[in-house]
Symmetry: D2
Subunit: 331 residues, 4 copies
Amino acid sequence: MAAIAAANVDSLASYGGDPLTQRLTQVAKEVFETDLVIFPVATGTAANALALSQLAPPYGAIYCHEAAHIVTDECGAPEFFTGGAKLIGLPAADGRISAGQIASAIAFANEMGVHHVMPGAISITQATEWGTVYDNAQVAAIAEVARANHLQVHMDGARFANALVHLGCSPAQATWKSGVDVLSFGATKNGALCAEAVIFFNPQQCVDFDRRRKRAGHLWSKLRFLSAQLLAYLDKDLWLANARNANQTAQRMAQGLRQISGVHLVHPVQANEVFVAMPEKLVAALEGAGFGFYRWPLCARKDDVAIRLVTSYATRDGEIDAFLSAARRLA
Amino acid sequence: MAAIAAANVDSLASYGGDPLTQRLTQVAKEVFETDLVIFPVATGTAANALALSQLAPPYGAIYCHEAAHIVTDECGAPEFFTGGAKLIGLPAADGRISAGQIASAIAFANEMGVHHVMPGAISITQATEWGTVYDNAQVAAIAEVARANHLQVHMDGARFANALVHLGCSPAQATWKSGVDVLSFGATKNGALCAEAVIFFNPQQCVDFDRRRKRAGHLWSKLRFLSAQLLAYLDKDLWLANARNANQTAQRMAQGLRQISGVHLVHPVQANEVFVAMPEKLVAALEGAGFGFYRWPLCARKDDVAIRLVTSYATRDGEIDAFLSAARRLA
Amino acid sequence: MAAIAAANVDSLASYGGDPLTQRLTQVAKEVFETDLVIFPVATGTAANALALSQLAPPYGAIYCHEAAHIVTDECGAPEFFTGGAKLIGLPAADGRISAGQIASAIAFANEMGVHHVMPGAISITQATEWGTVYDNAQVAAIAEVARANHLQVHMDGARFANALVHLGCSPAQATWKSGVDVLSFGATKNGALCAEAVIFFNPQQCVDFDRRRKRAGHLWSKLRFLSAQLLAYLDKDLWLANARNANQTAQRMAQGLRQISGVHLVHPVQANEVFVAMPEKLVAALEGAGFGFYRWPLCARKDDVAIRLVTSYATRDGEIDAFLSAARRLA
Amino acid sequence: MAAIAAANVDSLASYGGDPLTQRLTQVAKEVFETDLVIFPVATGTAANALALSQLAPPYGAIYCHEAAHIVTDECGAPEFFTGGAKLIGLPAADGRISAGQIASAIAFANEMGVHHVMPGAISITQATEWGTVYDNAQVAAIAEVARANHLQVHMDGARFANALVHLGCSPAQATWKSGVDVLSFGATKNGALCAEAVIFFNPQQCVDFDRRRKRAGHLWSKLRFLSAQLLAYLDKDLWLANARNANQTAQRMAQGLRQISGVHLVHPVQANEVFVAMPEKLVAALEGAGFGFYRWPLCARKDDVAIRLVTSYATRDGEIDAFLSAARRLA
């Protein structure tokens, strides 16, 4: 917030010509240890859809998880921005699609030829929709399939910081060194007011991307207010500290829930999301006790209802403990 | 062919103002026993994609079978024509999706609200991609779900004549009386040179459809050449006679194959397609003997390869018998 | 800025369910003295393109000035968001298109029928690109043509506050009472950090608009930060005070320039833009003296170069006087 | 027609794998004396829009005449197929835009940068909408501007045969030797049932074009019926003979009309269209006498009405003379 206020200097150049945006590029290069081009935008949907429109043609297929945010939560933004590319959703119980699945889907497309959408791009979500995290070898294997088929790899990193903290490696290792071409770098879920960025690790690949951003209404005249947020986010590893708190409180939650009878973790907890199945009665009782969360029908199991619990940079241990204590009491 | 030649009269009005096109409308009304509007086009992909673009908004979901022609064989035409609507492919072993599946998918969308594509339309294929046929009650049940959710039902009738012959009911019963709103009425696969038609059973629903056809490049200046084909196709029930031959030869094929050891029908044969699983060795031997057909990986089973055999208006019993005899010999 | 900081309360409902956004709706209704629906977005391009996509079909024509922002400055955003509608740019020396011009263009389209894009919407810019202002009677005449042809009227109000101050009437009078259906209500150019809004004066007309905003990536999860800006903007008529300063300093500039020999005002100055033609030599001298402005080739006259001078909420008389004094000296 | 009937052999490979389509490619190479790729389609709108979608990005500008068929007569097909590119219509009294005009428009776009659509392609119509013909030097000058700006040149050749007969040069000279990259090669207006073709003179430029054709519904399963028409059209210079008749009867018409008092040719007659201005009273009298033609408001002059008279491959001298005689009598 202070960073935004400090950016409130009116005589600065507009549309990204300002010094803050230039510094952001410099800082991002340092954080990712490589040459890159970074485009700040205000929402994750914009970041993902713009990135994909750069990678896949209108007659292209984009391979991703069947429950990826781009499939279920963006109201068709990728189809809109790409001009009609088709998202091919692949199943994967824990949220991580595999290189083999993608290779099979590409082989099918190639066999179909002109009648089918052409292999266009691959998009993986890190951390995944189910709160799991691809390890770098899995990403690299997918990237190898991509290379073999002349495709690019997009990473939806709305929760990239949480994944990175889990992996414990460098940002470079988790992205371009593992074969990622374009990253949707999320900050909003991890503390920013409204700031995401599309990062191209190969500057050659962003030709005309600025046109796409402009015609989608995502080029701010006072772009410095986005850049200022991202600078503050990256400064002194604030982003990693925020993510660390979120991941740790998620672990605390998971460990506590695991011990309650009738409550089951649906997926391994590796980032800041806890998917947990429990009897409808317990869910209703928790709601009755004033706790707010989403029911998650996609993850429901047998007779149990699934709910999603999300921790954040601001979650405190006490809040977790209060929830656990209530759950134990109501179970 | 004779019908096309007879239409070769140059002074007729262009863009559908000719008497042949007017007569086609009249004949179609008689065949389907209702008021309707019919738009001839040259390809099935155009018919389907134009029809869907009329029913679903760009931010809409179109519910259909996961292996529907519109999903796998039209290179993204529905996404293109609708401006980015999303095809939600539902699984169904025999090719027929159910009212219940669709209702669940709609319920999920409604729960997701603005973040998800909005329920937009339902598309069923008759006969299905797997050569099976919806009975009228199944269609009606789907239409009921559609009505309850203010959606329209599209029927991809590339093989509509084959389905109708199997059902043994009137064209009206198989379509609007069972709740179908728009029909892609196929003729090309059943004998025409290049003729399909989009039929709206509710004339109110085709507002501006002529604009969509024009801007997609599917309004012929000499439209009478399409209308002439469709008139000849409908004349004296030629279309049904053609389909009857195709269905009967498909049955002959199915019955013959069923008796060969190691050969299994993958789906019930109800129209003019026979999907059959057999050892790779036999498939290769048949290919070696000069027979041409597609391998169909989507239908493969265990160690067997699946192939698709399609009969037509022109298939003769002798051709079937020759194939069967070779298969028996090579098995 | 203070308003944004005050909105930094993390527990508020996301995606517009927060109390600030609700209050914004209430305040907007009071300001415009009518029922309405308001959708905050971050950029003017988004506001315009989203609004037009709601009004015109993909096969529609949008009538506007040939140099409108939507034509020349949005990199094709309206075409993108509408799915391909065509902007029909009409000439008008002072930036104001007339009801008669629009009526003629519509008549031409109607005569062409299905071969031409269908009349879809009308978009006028207030204040115009040339710094002039439509009076309410002109707007009403255009709206009458719209009504007669079942079209809607969009007003691009990136500089609406400046126009309103010039008109000296109520916001209601300048918009819906004169027949405007949808307003792009701009705040960024007049002091906000990044805040515009699409306002529908007829709530019936915004069906599914929330889907369009979402799929374009323009629905903020923390929407309250946009609403907070707009609330502060409207509070105690801050927006009008800001615009008044901009208009007055523009007048001061215009009156000063008018007295310099060889310098000519290109258009009447009614808002906060001054278009002025002068010899290339003087332009270069001003640039050499450190003044920054855009050359404006579209307004160039004979041997003279045209430049655009824009004042803002923050412009001070002293700055104007410094420019005038330099111009007098260098002329 | 005979050619189509002869193509009615059902066992041929589908989707263009047939020998007729292969032969068409061979014949086209001979006619144009170069390597090329030819894609038959059924309508001129499809040919133009598909070609342009290959040349211009969604955020591109396409420079053309303000009254080009692609601007006024295709219901937005180019915008649809390109995903929203903008047609920049340039004025030119006789239908021929100039290299200088295009260069200026490109310079403006470049000055505007990311805010404006990016120069994307150039499209010229040969013969033009006003029945005039670009000479080869004019085309070459335009192509030079294209090259200098890394753009491609598209020629809408719906009346290419008529232009060629007027020019009296080789097809090669009129196209790629003068810098044309892609030609919409029209046959329908000059005798075919429904046949146009997109011809790429640089085979490198048609990458994925087959996908675009397929997803637009313009890939015929029985493509040989289109190829057969084009082969017959090109055989023994039938296309040139047809065009010659059309041009000659147009000349006869023009020369006759020129001698009638109160009647004025609006444009030079160089192909098969005669635009002629005459008093409303005479127009009405001709209509009353049973002659059919379009009024052409775009070409109207002062108090006179303009009409368009089009001759064809089938027009006979006697028909012209009958019209002239009536016009003389009624004038």
